[in-house]
């Protein structure tokens, strides 16, 4: 009671000169931080545009629709890499989202309280593993296992001449689009699970307890109360996970098989925008080659922007409901 009173008195007291001076400085500091970020972002876009301009000028709109990538003849097109990026990121999201939801729900609703902390920490720790480690693990551990226990049985069981056979052809060493998507799923899973868990924890206990009090089962509480409550935030978490999957570089480069052009089957080699840049930028000497890689970077930037914009729109819609 006395503490509350003193706070009230302090708030009513006239501001000291020193205090207002500090306020002003703080304002300037925050304003600088915000504008600096904006300027850096603007500078990035401008420099990507300038760097990519020779490629856009040379190939025109065809740059986006051609999957040809031939550094010897200096013909470059973004379609193959863009397709690879979208396909792997989408597949990764499809694999990771149900698992991430499951992990988060288990940790918040079902987990014995003694296990809650160790498992939660382990999930957060997974998010901190560098992507190159996932790449190495993917290539040397996951790919051989995946080839032996998943890819080979599927390829063997496919009947010749069917669409399924076309969709499952590939080099039987466990690399390709599907493997890359699975590795990506493992990479974005902890991130999404941790965010979703935080969201579940924001639900006021009264809300859930009231539902239980009305006689709901655990499933009903999760399905009818918890999930709708966090839906807006969950979309944000999912989109951030998707953003990470879109831009992931090293792990994908190791496992995707790196061939330009459209992937035609789930075990086929492909490439993503980030893996193409990582592979070729260091050794690119031709103006058009360098410029095409920078242009690819701009395309990835635009894709990420669209994803974030979509997330905004979805969140906005949810808020209106």
């Amino acid at each position: 009671m006395t503490a509350d009173a003193s706070v009230l008195i302090a708030a009513d007291a006239p501001r000291s000169a020193r205090g207002t001076g500090l306020d002003r400085a703080f304002e300037i500091l925050c304003f600088t931080a915000a504008t600096f970020l904006l300027a850096a972002l603007g500078g990035l876009i401008v420099s990507l545009m300038i760097g990519g301009w020779p490629a856009f000028a040379h190939f025109g709109i065809g740059f986006f629709f051609s999957a040809e990538w031939d550094p010897v003849k200096e013909i470059y097109g973004a379609a193959g890499a863009v397709t690879g990026t979208l396909v792997t990121a989408t597949l990764a999201l499809i694999f990771a989202l149900p698992l991430a939801l499951g992990v988060a729900i288990f940790l918040v609703e079902l987990c014995p309280s003694r296990l809650r902390r160790p498992i939660g920490t382990a999930v957060e720790l997974l998010a901190g593993i560098p992507s190159i480690v996932y790449g190495m693990w993917g290539l040397f551990v996951f790919a051989p296992w995946f080839s032996k226990h998943v890819q080979m049985p599927i390829m063997m069981s496919a009947e010749p001449g069917t669409l399924w056979e076309t969709l499952t052809t590939g080099v039987p060493n466990g690399s390709g689009i599907l493997s890359a998507s699975l590795i990506l799923a493992v990479m974005i899973l902890p991130f999404m699970a941790a965010t979703l868990r935080e969201l579940f924890l924001t639900i006021p206990p009264q809300v859930r307890e009231s539902a239980y009090g009305l006689g709901s089962t655990t499933f009903e509480v999760i399905d009818k109360v918890s999930l709708p409550y966090i839906r807006t935030g969950a979309i944000g978490a999912v989109m951030l996970g998707l953003g990470r999957a879109l831009g992931e570089t090293m792990a994908v480069t190791f496992i995707i098989g790196n061939s330009h052009g459209f992937p035609t089957s789930m075990f086929a080699s492909g490439s993503t925008i980030a893996s193409t840049i990582a592979n070729e930028f260091a050794e690119a000497t031709g103006v058009l080659h360098t410029s095409s890689l920078i242009a690819l970077g701009l395309v990835l930037f635009v894709i990420t922007f669209i994803v974030l914009a979509l997330a905004r729109v979805l969140i906005g819609k949810q808020a209106n409901l």
Binding site: F26, N173, A282, E283
Partner: protein, 354 residues
Amino acid sequence: MFRKIVIALTACLALSACNRPEDAKAPSQGVQIAGAGATFPAPLYAKWAEAQKAETGLALNYQAIGSGGGIKQIKAKTVAFGASDKPLKPEELDEAGLIQFPTVIGGVVPVVNIPGIAGGQIKLTGPQLADIYLGNTKKWNDPALVAANPGVALPDLPITVIHRSDGSGTSFLFTSYLTAVAPKWAVVGANDAVKWPTGQGGKGNDGVAGFVKQTPGSIGYVEYAFAKMNNMAHVRLQNPSGNFVEPTAGSFAAAAASADWSKAPGFYLLLLNAPGTDAWPITGATFALMHKSQPDAATGKAVLAFFDGAFRKGDEAANALAYVPLPADLKAQIRSSWSAIVGPDGKPVFTPAP
């Protein structure tokens, strides 16, 4: 709370401001030279630098950013020397006012994973290798391969082609070799990255090696040093004398020795298909690039003194790391080419001891 942060920040700023004059005052310990470029010679340059640092105090700061990056950096004059696995053509050198010289020899070795077949058992000619990489030869028991390998039980196994996914001097050498031996390869061409007609790309030597090890029936290509250190099953290749040679330090040295460097302006020479009877056909040097006119004579001198010292005392280190040192007469030619590197006064910056 905020006040504490502000105080802490101010303290940090004040401290860093204090640091600056101290840095400026710090005495430069010995000479430092900066180089950047190819990743292939980086371990050897590091070894050479270590030895010379102990001896003369000369410190080398070498950044292995890739050959393309090395060429860009030296053209932008941000480093004292650039390094590239892919030599620049004489006209490109003249245009940029650069000079280049080889520093050490390496090569490319095709490696295979065929169950039941050990390293060195399979013999291939250049055109056969090109047919495999073009996707024309699809199985190991292809009649052409069986005929070339009498007595070897080649299995009925599809061939999986593995290539480098990253742009690299290794790919440049390999595709240049295929261009030289097989007219058919012209559809693909030679570069540090090409449009591969078939197969999968692994990142770096370890990426290629990883895919080859995991894929029965695969063929890939890696640097000689990498193949040797990892005991990979190699292929014997036919050289222009008709011999099927093994990739050994001796066959790389034979290739380097039989090449006629004196007729190659700017040392623009790929040691592909060298004429020696024991020469390994896919051999190549890695190069250092410098500006002909050095704005600072001391830096230019330090770089040349570094390579001079490496040529004199660094062969053992090179052998230990599975690189192949340059032959003695080539070293002499390189030293005499250094007279073209001059300081602001127009005099050569470095005169090697005879």
